[in-house]
Amino acid sequence: MKEKNKRESADDVARQRRTGDPLGVNSEVGRKLKQYYDDLVSDEVPDRFAQLLAQLEQAEPSAKKG
């Protein structure tokens, strides 16, 4: 998970360097925005979502009818 995020942000950095993106690594707003968002993305996901998907799967008509 962490590894994946790191790789994605490295790609973003490369993309921003190429395109001269106004929110790239050279922009303080861009850096803070990334930091803010990465902090949210790395937040632990509550179990309720995995449970929800399991419930949805069980409720599938195909699961009942076979």
């Binding site: 929110l23 303080e28 803010y36 995995a50 949805l56 599938e60």
Partner: protein, 182 residues
Amino acid sequence: MAVSQGFKTDLLGAIPSLRAFAVSLAQNADRADDLVQETLVKAWDKHESFQMGTNLKAWLFTILRNEFYSQMRKRGREVQDSEGIMTARLAVHPAQQGQLDLKDFRAALERLPEDQREAIILIGASGFSYEEAAEICGCAVGTIKSRVSRARAKLQEILEISGEDEYGPDAISTQVMASPNS
């Protein structure tokens, strides 16, 4: 048609991003998780309308965004809880470098109008292209560009960021407006 195992796995994988986007929009952790839940249920029900091979994350963000605005319309605008749930939740995070900075940034972000906030998040943080962001928000690419530009200028102003001469607001607007196909 049954929901495929792959689709379910992809949904699970998208949850961290969906939650981050939801918190950015709603500025409230509980409401954000309700939005994510609603999004997952809708995505599950409508899975047949998702075209395999297209961008699942963009599709999910579109559903979440529509849900957010439809809830806003239903409830009317609520007073934003700027020092409430989010702050309390994040306060239990271990102290880390830049945490104070981050708090200031969060407060600044909250002061942006929703349309500008979502645009700068989609482009500057979620990793979408201007074209994808325009599709998610159902508006023109130029609209996204101008919202990002205004959001960035406003954040700079609130945070009193200076010394970015070569990337200053004028240079940015010129750059953004001059490259409709970038």
